[in-house]
Amino acid sequence: MKVMVSVKRVVDYNVRIQVKGDGSGVNLDGVKMSMNPFDEIAMEQAVQMKDAGTAEEVIAVTIGPAKAEEQLRSALAFGADRAIHVKTDEEIQPLTAARILAKLFEKEQPKVLLTGKQAIDDDANQTGQMTAALLDLPQATFASAIEFDGDKAKVTREVDSGLETIEVDLPAVITTDLRLNEPRYLKLPDIMKAKKKPIDAMSVEDLGIEEAVKLNVTKTAPPPEREPGVMVEDVNELVSKMKDKGLV
């Protein structure tokens, strides 16, 4: 089958995020950027399918600035066969991203769209669901295990109450959760080979997509500093302290 994987360029998970002084956002100047970790899990899933012979072709897709090509090259080094880069310097909101992905899905006709359950920058957790809705396709979100069987996929989902296993008809949109797999380390020769794989670049306008109504970020603030803890001697003291604070 043909598999499409959507990957996003985000601030690297190791970076200590600094909020801008005026609260208008976070500081991205000179900050290290990487592929969204949940999208890496989606890439790993796709490449495992290729290794196992379940997938014949893996197409990586990203929406973002020229520099997002770095993340596409990583996807190609993972093992994607080719890539599509929808270039934009604008901040893309989930509905716009979903419209773009839906358009590319219609064009490429893959059996499955894999993407991370959410991106670690805005944690919106919407794009996968919206894309499925726009395409009127089944969706299986928060996947921690996926099994393909003919025109169906059995997906184990991580939900609040535990694990839920559902069966969806293909084509479908599947979003990947943390425990689905452990992404591989990219091999250095594969990174070099990725340079020669094709990337098809286009603009949002080329696809005839209308940008979704803007959500406005009104304020960005750092989380409150954690107050230092106190050491207690025994359980009794712990209980009485908790009572003092009105916690029990």
Partner: protein, 383 residues
């Protein structure tokens, strides 16, 4: 060869991630067990770390020297023994075969070396021939279609793991100097080769050296690299690169020592504030930063000129001299910043302090580098 910044960035990022997530967490175990766990060695192979400098047509990545040193600096952010494991295949263990071997020899040895399945080792040093390499005594005397080798090699890096030795031996016993020495690619499983016990070293736990003893070892004549008498010339060609490699390893180790020291200084509180706010501690941190930056700059500069085909013998000696002495000072300051903790095995600076002491000794001592630099200065002087 990459020559493309985006791809190089991808490579460097992949190496840094592997170092951070896989190698650094294993450092204490490696030091304790005096061995790199098999699964980590397997991962280093699959990442491609053994074939950095081996040309693409032989299954390696064919990086330029500058690119390779950028990788080595990142790799050296972890314990120096990891760099040491891949060091011989990327450097002195493969280069003589690459530069002076014929096509058969290259096809036979380089692809398995690039994959890390075959470890190459460089057998030059002897009990009585260290800095004065051209005085080596190991003999390889031609009898028909074999050379019969007798002699002992000392402190040979990765010898316990080696599948092939780049051996320097005297083929002309009547010529006591450099002109009597030839170079061979010798399979380690030949009869007549025995290995000594692994040396008990000051540091570098997890990296192994030992004696290699040749007793009536019959080496096929086809193992000769280049022509008879070219051995020392080949060795010297290999050493320019090797010296820059040690300089890069020194830079990487210094950057790591600085990072550990800075973190410790920010966390450790005395007199009511982090010791990083004490100006005398700041002076040590600042000196370490300035010196490691200088060494990094000169090393990459020399590598760029090597890649352009310019002669770098003097500069490679300068880099090796400065960078290895620099990392000695940085390691000393790192222990000092850590105070009593820096003397404890629980902190990696204690290990690095002992490990980097080696860098001033191998691939030519600091004193040999000084002699090389001064000799070339005088030779090239123009008034």
């Amino acid at each position: 060869m990459i020559r493309d910044q985006n791809t190089l960035n991808g490579i460097l990022e992949a190496v840094s991630r592997f170092v951070r997530e896989r190698l650094v967490p294993a450092e204490a175990e490696v030091a304790e067990q005096d061995a790199i766990p098999d699964d980590i060695v397997a991962d280093m192979r699959s990442l491609g770390l053994f074939g950095l400098s081996i040309p693409e047509e032989y299954g390696g990545m064919g990086l330029t020297l500058e690119e390779e040193l950028e990788v080595i600096i990142r790799l050296a952010h972890a314990s120096p023994v990891f760099r040491s494991l891949v060091g011989t295949n990327n450097g002195i263990g493969s280069k003589a075969i690459l530069y002076s071997g014929n096509e058969d020899q290259k096809q036979r040895y380089l692809p398995p070396m690039a994959r890390g399945e075959l470890i190459g080792s460089f057998a030059l040093t002897e009990p009585e021939a260290g800095s004065d390499a051209a005085s080596l005594k190991t003999r390889a005397i031609r009898h028909g279609d074999v050379y019969v080798v007798n002699g002992g090699k000392r402190y040979i890096s990765n010898a316990p793991q080696a599948g092939v030795f780049t051996l320097m031996a005297r083929t002309d016993p009547d010529e006591p100097g450099a002109a009597g020495v030839s170079c061979f690619a010798v399979d380690a499983d030949l009869d007549g080769i025995t290995l000594g016990k692994p040396d008990r070293k000051m540091g570098m736990a997890g990296s192994h050296t030992c004696d290699v003893i040749f007793q009536d070892c019959r080496v096929p004549a086809g193992a000769l690299l280049g022509s008879e008498g070219e051995g020392i010339r080949i060795a010297m060609q290999v050493l320019d690169r090797g010296r820059l490699m040690v300089a890069a390893a020194s830079v990487g180790a210094a950057e790591r020592l600085l990072r550990d020291s800075l973190r410790y200084a920010e966390e450790r509180r005395q007199f009511g504030k982090p010791i990083a706010e004490q100006q005398l501690v700041q002076a040590m941190l600042a000196d370490a930063r300035a010196e490691s930056y200088a060494a990094r700059s000169m090393t990459l500069d020399a590598a760029r000129r090597y890649d352009e085909g310019l002669p770098v013998t003097t500069d490679a000696a300068c880099c090796k001299l400065f960078a290895s002495e620099m990392v000695g000072r940085v390691a000393d300051r790192a222990v000092q910043i850590h105070g009593g903790a820096g003397y404890m095995r629980d902190y990696r600076v204690e290990q690095f302090y002992r490990d980097v002491r080696l860098f001033r000794l191998f691939e030519g001592t600091s004193q040999i580098q000084q002699l090389v630099i001064a000799r070339n200065l005088r030779k090239e002087a123009a008034w």
